[in-house]
Each structure stands twice: as structure tokens, then as C-alpha cells.
Symmetry: D2
Subunit: 398 residues, 4 copies
């Protein structure tokens, strides 16, 4: 892996969220340091100050940088000399707290890596975007599945025209873990994700529908013109959707579909995408991430595999592999690849170089805003029986 | 395989259609006789009398029963003594001719096995249904995929309540062969299928969307309450849809989706169904027909396989296997299983027993009418931008 | 499918074996007539004359040609005028009876399609070969798996040099059905297969090891120089092997392995072959017969699929498909393809044309002898602790 | 993940090997710290002192602990106060140097994590074992594939008797990367691996055959009684084997086979194992590591999947998962799991607790010795035409 080059030191990370019982905080902490390009040096690991401090040893965060709140974190880190101060803050808290944390971090001049969805609602997202645009920070959003080498291969192929014009995109993201009212049993992950005061206006579509949408956007580069959506709550008494289906119309007449479910028995984390173009078609499945199937009429189907040394590997594929082919890379590595791309920008910023803010390889704040717009339009459309609503947000990346 | 029991002879079949260049006629002829329960003894193999007669030797049909038209076939067969006369007529012609042939056959008292979709339009289908209801004939429609042993296993499991309440049904039927304007090259299969004067009001959705719909209906037993559809014609200049997506609402709040494509590069004949219930979920893929995946949260995923001797094999599964497990059965056998179920009824009729006409194991004229209703509602919905239309036809089987 | 051309009639088949409780007889009867090129007109369906006659109606064999023994069959058929007389006899009886039946048939001038293994022991096989060589009959042996279109594709590719020099061949044939002493429960299939007086000197290796060997021979065209084998009987009290492993040395230094098992829990009929060449490598699995994986370093893996119209389909692949791609063909069709190739030769014989007897597309009596030699050498080698024995039989086809 | 408990600090790691151009050193460095239980603080990254020091920044090793040789490393680390001194040394150098480095480390009292195969030859391994037995160090060998959660599940099931008596074990480890003389092109990985002065007496069988053997040993717990092997060098001019096949006899009459190849086109890193027991059978494939297939006659095949929360997850499976099911874990995580198990023992040692040295969850020095014995017997057997040699080493773990 590339080191941090001109920066000549590791980037310093602070983690907000991730205290005991959390899931995604640990993932951020592990993925960010996977390549030895960053070190976790500070944290505000819980909104409960006592728990925040108790959790610090789990992450090897020294006591004096184990803060009781994100506010304390920002204040105290700003007070440190620049040579010790953190470079970025990773926000791994429930959705409803992203905005205030991320906004404060940006305003303090820290780079941010924020979990998805970006904020609690669209208004917050648009407000946050303004703040980011008024700053010079690097702002990444962890739509982590775009970090898979073969997702990047697919994108390179599609943007390079190999599939021709794209006419159908079908994305499924199927899980089964909310088939029962797990949230009634005090399971932390399900509790906040099914609570509209914490998760926002959408449940399943906010949590995983946004990943599905973002994956399609990333791989094809196409912005849908309009969207129609039907959300369902199949588990009685649950306050948010646990299933949904959206239809997308593209300018070229193409049709997209997104199905997301959290009530499909036995489905683990089954994110699956199929893309049909006039010249070729492909499919990729997150649970089998090291291969991708490419098809053309009249030719044998082709299985592309993760292989940094293969002649067929596109630049963005080859660049984000850590091991030779056949040595399975998965969830953590893909997550780490989002960090790596953001690190490159952070280093450019830190060393005074100019850096791309819109068309980044990593999902950024524009993608985050578009994700919130997606949620908003889906919920609005669904509430009105699936009415078509525009999907082109003025701030969507081109 | 069971023999023809009380009938104590083979059933006598006539084939209409299937002349040189045809595809499905040969399939009918082979599948029907697979178990030695029927013999092809007569035919009107083409609408062109000369070609009809020329094609007869390909099917080993004797010259004196190689008729120049279906009318001649019916007239001459009726004139034969009952001990020689055909028992049933298989209709394997382009869609626009099904009605007149089937109607004449029924009115003459012959059993009918008709290819799908049932007729050119819904009015014809409803008219034909009346004729059938006024008769005593057995009338089967070859939605052949329901003849797969594991499709029947799935149905037995679902109707038996093993999956609980069904909340999501997702069907995809993907092909790639019409990715180019094959119809301009004089290829017979594509020519009539893309011609609205022969195929009817729908292309892709008439040809394969109906199979997808029927499969969902057969496996779940559920009738959708309403439907919304978007059809597309991606190949410029083509007159009928070559892609489409329909959304189904069920009474219980469940949601169904049907995607059919003929423009997906490299997809051969990929009919795939996933069904989510409150207790379990399953998936089955036509191109891998001898297995079915069943999932329940917290348990290993289970691969059911075709095996007439397995303790887990449901009665309708076990009854339609011809070989032990691991001896791949496929398209022809499933097609043959539709015939077998229809044969059972024909024998009951011939031997004077009463027989079920509505809730049959084989797809019947009611299913055919519902298929035409599906096409009609899809096209109408699509023409009005995907408006929701009712999907419960008064004649749909319960 | 091609018709019988110059012969201008169906071939007439007699079946020996196949009475009630049998498995492979029905397969012969169905596969042989799949393309309407033959008709089953006579039979001696059981060694028990009463049962033989009782079983005839199951096959629609008229009473006057339902014979009580193969001897009667041959005698009476010879007495019929040539225009009615059978063309060939299919031998679908337990192994120990093949020799006398096949020999008598050949001596009477009838073509023969004999199940495998060819005979009870090698001496019989060599004797039978002499008889066949002294005759003008067509003699096929149903190593049915070589009838799969993609097996023939693989062979065409290998013999055409596309894989380069072959250095490793690995074949597995795994079943689980004899995991328990099924033979003690009166199950007919297991009873004779585990009885050395009926099955011959080998059990598992005679029944399925020979298929595995033949498949490797057919696909690669290479004759092993020597063989070392270890047979096992894992089920206590069983008299014949139910598991075994053989190692093959080829002249070019290449190594082959054959593993056959009837005691592998849950394995249905899992015949699997992998072939490594200097230029490319492939694998094919009988339970997924419509695809084959081909690999070359540095290129995406390629999935070849059964498709008579694909540009990549080799002549022998395209010629034996009955339906377009995606319409699963399986066990019966492959079995039927053995018959088709034999029919072509029978027609050549019947119409007085010369025909190939050694390098046939269908497995022939030379392959049958080689199969018996394989069994003999395996058992001998195993009895002596795996000693290496020569594997080139003087009569092996080149 | 569990933290370091009573130790209350990270373990301190030194890496020997891993300089620029290396592969496995980086893997050790990443896997060891994946859970924040250890930190890489020192290294002797190359046998070339200048290169060793140049490579240090890539690993974030401070200059003062970037040593020019392993001897310097040991000497200088011993001179540090115990509170700073490394806890263990990871040996990630070519095979011929393992012995001297590991021996010196053990003699200095450092724990060791050594790459496989353990040493250059068996004599060294046995000598090293004596040294380890005379010490109190933890000594792990990175047969990393045993760190996969489902490999441990399989072992738990087998040792718990769920599969009954094991009768057949089949392991394949197929790669294609040495299909050409890559070593002639100066590629570092291939150069030493094909050089008998660095790799030892075996090539393919030393590099990956040992993994295959160890996997079978770990999963079944069974020691083969004797072994017969055939090694091949298919690439002309290569000095070591690039392909081989070994046959194993077990005391209970069971048969094992190991096939390893580095010349199979397009095979990436395909380690695959099948195990047949009297009650059940399973298979696991390294390239699809998050699932395992379990089969029993008469039941649907079962796909076990990695899921720490599943009721079916065995203790050793659940304990080594980092993420929920469906979040692919792969090569690095499995490698890290070897470290984790070794860490537990290192902590026990460091805190004065007693700890298991023979029957460890991690592969240990006894497994390393057995691996060298395996290589030795394979090469000896192969040189004598596959003669059977004993496989029970007196020091093999029971």
C-alpha cells in the first residue's frame, strides 16, 4: 500500500461513537488503520460520558484523549499543538446526531468521515453541505461497498463505455435480521434503527436502501430523473419501514429498480446489482465480492476476479487490492478503501496541495446530500401511493 | 411413470403448428410422449398446407393424417371411428391464431393443450373460456415452468403454511436474445414475437412476463389485488416492448415485483423467483432447476434437491420425477409434467369419471384468461404512466 | 434433430431388461425415442418370463413381441420379415448377463446398445469384442455422460489443441446412496450392484469408476500408461468396494486421479472433472451440465454454456442440442445423444454405407473392453497394495 | 474482540522479514494488529541491512528499532527494559532462514510466530522443537487457513462426533501462478520458492501442500498412518516440484488424498476440502470461506455460514468472528485469528498463568515439525516411485 508520502507521518483519527454494544464504530477504527496510514488517538465513544471513558481502553485510546463528549473532543483537540492534534473525526453514531457532530467538526477545521445516511433529514444535510462548501475540509461518507475492487472495476468499465448505454439497473439489498421485533428485546442495533426519533424518516430504506442507491449511482454515474417508491412495514407495531421498492427513470429512458428488505428470512447482507447496457451486462454480489460476472451475447460468460496483477484489472481495481488474487478480501478491506481515498485528499490538504472535492473516488458530502434526498423522495412518494417525484438534486455530483 | 390405467391405451395427439423453423412445436411433440402415455398421430403443422405436409415426416406423422389446415384436421378426425380418433389437440402456433384453433377444437369435443399466452387478446380469451365452460373438455395451457418438481415442492410448502404469510414475491425473467433487431434478419422466432399483429399487444411481457406472473401465482396461490406496470422498448424501431417491470399489491399488504427482459446481454433463459414469508423464504432458478434454496433465520440455509425418494420431497414433487436425484431433469421433463397432469384428467374424462376443472395441477384455461388479463392490465397501466389497475379477474382461479 | 434420412423410417428397438423395479431400462427406452428416430417394438423385459410379459404394457410393447427371454426374442425376431424385424437390441440387465445377451444379439446380426460395464469380466469382454469384430454390427456402450454437449465441446477443444498439452486430469464421481447396507433391505438397484456374482469383481469402481475413467478418456483422448488403485469397502459386511481411488500415469509424465464413492453423505450423482493443460484448464460437473468453466492465467474465467447457436459452440456441441440455451437439457438428453450417434452408424449400415467402427463419437465395444480392463487392473492393483499395473490395452482405441 | 485482559496493554511485536517486494511480511503486520491487541514496534525487515532500515517507515517502525539483522534485533531488544521490550517475534522470511532466527528468538526467551513451513528441513525442525520444549515460550506457526471461523466450526463438529467416523478426506490446493517460469523473470515470490537452496526439498508441496495437509489434520484430528506421494515438475528446467499428489492411509482404514498444484491455469488460491463421515459429510472452500456445506443422506443440503450469533455456530466459530454474518471476512481475518489464539497464550505466559502447549487452537511447533515430516516423507516416497512411508511422527500432537 502507498504510504502517506509527503506527509511523512500517520494521520491522527478521533472516533465519535463506537462505545460498548456498538457495531460500526469498531469497523471504522479497524478499517481506518488497516494500512498503517492512520492511528486512532482520541475518541468520544459514547453520548454517555462515563461509558465513553470506559470504552476507551477497548480502542487503546489513552485516558487523556478519551473525551466525555464530541464537544469536549473538539475543544480539547483544538487546544493541542498542531503536531499532536487529530486530522479527522470519524462519526459513527446513530443518524440523528450526525449533523451536529459533523457540523461542529467541519467548523473546527477537522476533516470528517461520516457514517451514512449523512444526517437525520434533508434540511440538515443541505445545511451541512453549505458548511462544508464554506470550509476546506475533506468530507467522506462511508458508503463502504463502493470500496470493493470489483465495484471500482465495474465503474471503470461502464464510465469507459465498455457496456454501451445503460438501460436497466437492478439493485437488491436483502437482510433478514429484523424479521422479528428485535427492537423490543433491547438489542441496541435494532433499537435506534427502528426509532424514527433516531433513525430519521426511513428505516430499511435509510439504513440499506441508501447503500443500494449509492452503489448504482457510483457504478453507472447516472442520476435518475425521477423516482416512485413503495415502503412497507411488515412487522406489526414497528414505526419505520422494514421493506421497500423504488423505481427509477433515467433521462435516456432507462429503468432502475431498488428493492431493500430487512425481513427476508436467512438473508445475511445480500447486496446485489445487475446492470444491462447495449454492449454488455454485469452483475456483482457483495457476499461474493471478489468476483463479478460480465456477459455479452454470443460469448462465454466472463468471471472477473479481484487480481491486482491481472491484465484486465482496471486502474481503480488494481490500486485498492492488498493481496494477490484468491486471498479473500472483504468487508473491512472495502471499508478501508474508502478511508484510503479520503486519506489521499487529507494528505493533499495537509501538504497544501489542491484536491478534488466533487468528483472524488470516495463518497463525499454531495453523495450524502443526494442520499438524504433519496430517502426524502422515497418516503414522500410512498406516502402518496408511489407518485413520481424528481430525483435530480441540484447538488448531486454530475 | 404411471401408465394410463383404466384407459389401457395411449392417448392420441394432434399437433397444430410446429412446421419447419418452429421451436415450440417440437417441444410439445417430444414432451407429450416422454412417458409413453401418448402418441402423436396427426397434425396440421403449418398454416401453409404444402409446408404442413412436408413437415409431417419429421414427426413421423403418416401422410393420411398430415392435414393442410386445422380445419381439415378437425373435420377428418371427427370422421374417424372413435377408436382411432385423436384425444387432444396441441396448439403450438403464433399467438394470433390460438383462439380460432382452440375454439374449434373445443367445439368439436377435443381436449386441448394450448401454448401461452392463451390468445391474441383478452376478449378472445374470455370468449374461449365460455366455450370451454360450455363443454366437457380438458383444457391445459403450457406454463411449463410450473412442471418442475421443485416448483411443485415450493407450492406444497407454501400452501401448507410452512413459509407463513407471504409478504414479498420477486420474479425475474431475463433473456438477451432480442438485444439486437433479430427480427430484421428473418429469424422466425423473433419475427412473429415482435409483430403486434401476431403476438398481440405485448412483446416481452406477453412472451415471458406471463410465465413469470403465472409462476408466482402457482407457487403462492395468491391473486394480486392491483398492478402497476412500465413497459419499455429499448431496441429502436421495434414495435413491442422488450423489457418491463410490474409491481403487484396483494390484499395482505404484500408486494410483488416482476421484471422481464429480452435485452439483457448474455442472459439465456433466466427465470428466477424469490418468496419471503413470515416463517421462511425460498428461491428457485429455472436454469438450476433441480435445487431450491430455503432459508430461515438462525438456521443453516437449506438446499432442497429434486429427489423422489427423499423424506422431504412433497407429494407433488415426488410424483413428477423420472430419475433418481443427481440425474438432471430439465426443460423437457417439466414440460412433460404439464402434459402428464392433463393426461390424468383426459383419462378421467375418457373413462367417464368426474374431474377437476378449476383447481388443477396443470395450468388451465382460467390461468390462460388471467394471463391475458395480466397482459392487458400491464399494457394499459404502462400506457398511463404506471397507473394502478385492478388485477383480480372474476374468472381467476381462487 | 436430423431424421433418419436415407433410411426413411424409424429404427426398431428391442429392450432386454427394464422390467418392474428396474431403473436403467426405462432410461434406455425413453432416451432412444426422444427424437422420434426409433420406436420400441419388442422386449424381453425380465429374466422371469412372467414378469417380462407383465411389464410389456408399461412400455407399450405389443403382446406378441413381449418375449419371455432374450433367446426367444432373438429367435422370433429373426423369423420376422426384414421390414418388421428389430434393428437393434438394448441390453439393460445386470452386468453378469450382458455377455451372453450381447453375444447372441451380435451373432444374430442385430446392432447392440449395451449398458456399462460391458461384461462380467475382462475375458468375456475380449471374447465379445472378437465376435463384434467378426460381424458387421454397430455396437455402442452407454457411457452416457459423454453425450453431454459441453463434454463434447471440451473434447473438441482439447483434441484441437486449445488447452495445450494435458498434464493433470482429476475426476471425482461421488454418490451417497450406498452409505448404509441398502442391499439388506431388498432394494433391487443395490442388491445386484453389491453382489459379486452379478456385478463382477468391482462394486463402486465397476458401476461409476468406469464412467469416470471413460469420461477422462473421451475428453482428453489420452490412454494412461499405468495405473495404481486402492479400493475400499467401508460398509461392514459388504462384499464389493464402495469407495476407491486410482492414480494414472500418462506417457507425457502427466498424472491423473480418479476418486469414486458411493458412501459420501448427500452426494447425489456428482461426476466432476478437471483438466489442466499447458495453455488452459477446464472443469465440468455433471450436476450442472449446461455449463463448463474454462480458465487461462491472466484472463477472466470463462463460463461456456450449452448453446447450439453460439459462435463458440464446437461442431459436436452444437450438433447434439435440442433446445436453445437456458432450456436445461440433462441426463435423458445426454443419454439420447449416445443413441443418436449410434443411430447414424446403424443407418449407414442399413443403407449399405461404410461406417467408422473404432473412432466413433459414441462409446463402443473397444471402450467397453477398456472399461473392463480398467476394472481388472484396479482390482488387481488394489489387492496388491496399489502396485502399478499397465493400463494400455492392446485393443484400446488410439 | 476480547482485549488483552489481565495484561492490560498491547503486546509488542517485532517483524523479521517483510522488506520491500515481500508479500507475507505485510500480512503478518496487518493481521497481528487487526484487533488492536498488539503493536508492531520493531523489525529486522531484510537480510540486507540497508534495505531493512529503508523499509521500516512502511511499517511505521521507529528508526531506533529498525534493526539491520535479526541478531541485532534480539540483542538490542534484550537490552531494553522489560516494559518496552518486544513480546514476540514474527518470522516472515524465506524458509531456509526460519531455523536460525526462530531458534535464536526462543533462546532469548521471545515468543515466536513463524511462517510455514517451519524450517528448511526436518532435522532443523526437530532441533528447533527441542529448543522450544526446553523453553517457556509460545510458538505459533501460521497455517493461517485454520483461522477461518467455518474451519473451526467443522473441527468442532467433527471432534464432537457429528459426522461419525471419518473415512475419506480429500484436499485440493490449486494455483496457477507458476504455470510459466516466472522465476526467470526476477519475480521475488517465485524466485526463492522454486530455489531448493532457499525453499527446501519441496516446492509446491512445501509451499501449499503443507497447508492442505495441516488443514486436514486440524479439521479431523486424525494422524495418517502412512503416506504415498508422487511429485511432478511440469515446467521444464524448474528445480522443485510444481505439482503433486499424496495418498494417506488412516488407522481406521480411511483414505485421504492431497492434490497440490501451482500450474493449474486460472486457479487463484483454491484450497478445497471434503470430508466424509459415517453420519455426515462436509466441504469447505477457501475462496468462499464464509460458508460450508454439510450433507446428510435424505436431508436437504445445509449451508452453514459464518455468523457469530447463529444458534448453530460452535464456540470456536463464534469466538473468532469480527462482524455479523454477510459482512465478508477473509484472508486477513483468518490470519489474525491465528495471532489471537497465540496472543491468549502469550498473555497467560506474561501474567504467569499456565498455558497449553500441545493441544492449542493455533498451529504450533509440533504442527510445524509434522509439516516438515510430511514434506520429507512426500519427497522420499516420490523419489522411490510412491512407496508407502510411515506418517506418524513421534512428536505429532495426538
Amino acid at each position: 500500500m502507498s504510504t502517506n508520502g509527503a506527509l511523512n507521518r500517520k494521520l491522527r483519527m478521533a472516533l465519535v461513537g463506537g462505545g460498548r454494544g456498538a457495531f460500526i464504530g469498531r469497523v471504522h477504527a479497524t478499517a481506518a488503520v488497516l494500512d498503517n496510514r492512520a492511528a486512532l488517538v482520541a475518541g468520544a465513544l459514547s453520548s454517555d460520558p462515563a461509558k465513553a471513558k470506559e470504552s476507551a481502553p477497548d480502542y487503546d485510546i489513552p485516558e487523556d484523549r478519551a473525551y466525555g463528549s464530541y464537544k469536549e473532543l473538539i475543544e480539547k483537540e483544538l487546544a493541542l499543538p498542531e503536531t499532536e492534534r487529530i486530522d479527522y473525526i470519524s462519526v459513527a453514531t446513530p443518524n440523528h446526531t450526525h449533523f451536529e457532530i459533523a457540523k461542529a467538526a467541519v467548523e473546527a477545521g477537522f476533516n470528517v468521515v461520516c457514517d451514512k445516511p449523512l444526517t437525520f433529514d434533508l434540511a440538515q444535510a443541505e445545511e451541512l453541505l453549505k458548511v462544508v462548501e464554506g470550509s476546506d475540509v475533506v468530507f467522506a461518507v462511508t458508503h463502504n461497498y463502493t470500496g470493493n475492487p470489483l465495484v471500482r472495476q465495474a465503474r471503470d468499465m461502464i464510465l469507459g463505455g465498455e457496456l454501451g448505454e445503460i438501460q436497466s439497473v437492478r439493485v437488491h439489498y436483502l437482510q433478514g435480521w429484523l424479521r422479528t421485533r428485535l427492537e423490543l428485546e433491547g438489542q441496541k442495533q435494532s433499537s435506534w434503527r427502528t426509532d424514527p426519533s433516531k433513525s430519521g424518516m426511513a428505516g430499511c430504506f435509510g439504513d440499506i436502501g441508501t447503500h443500494a442507491y449509492n452503489l448504482a449511482r457510483f457504478m453507472t454515474g447516472m442520476i435518475p430523473e425521477k423516482i416512485s417508491c413503495h415502503l412497507k412495514t411488515f412487522e406489526e407495531g414497528r414505526q419505520l419501514d422494514d421493506f421497500g421498492h423504488a423505481l427509477l427513470h433515467f433521462d435516456n429512458g432507462g429503468l432502475g429498480t431498488i428493492t431493500a428488505s430487512q425481513i427476508s428470512h436467512g438473508r445475511e447482507n445480500d447486496l446485489f446489482i445487475e446492470i444491462d447496457g447495449t454492449k454488455g451486462a454485469l452483475e456483482w454480489r457483495q457476499q461474493d465480492p471478489n468476483r463479478m460476472i460480465y456477459r455479452e451475447n454470443g460469448k462465454p460468460h466472463q468471471i472477473y476476479y479481484r487480481d491486482p496483477n491481472a491484465p484486465f484489472a482496471s486502474p481503480n481495481h488494481a490500486a485498492c487490492c492488498r493481496t494477490p488474487s484468491g486471498h479473500n478480501e472483504g468487508y473491512l478491506e472495502a471499508f478501508g478503501n474508502i478511508y484510503c481515498a479520503a486519506f489521499d485528499a487529507m494528505i493533499q490538504r495537509a501538504t497544501g496541495e489542491s484536491f478534488e472535492k466533487v468528483n472524488t473516488l470516495y463518497p463525499n458530502v454531495y453523495d450524502g446530500v443526494e442520499g438524504m434526498f433519496f430517502i426524502t423522495q422515497c418516503v414522500s412518494s410512498s406516502e402518496e401511493g408511489g407518485v413520481w417525484l424528481p430525483m435530480k438534486h441540484p447538488k448531486a455530483r454530475p
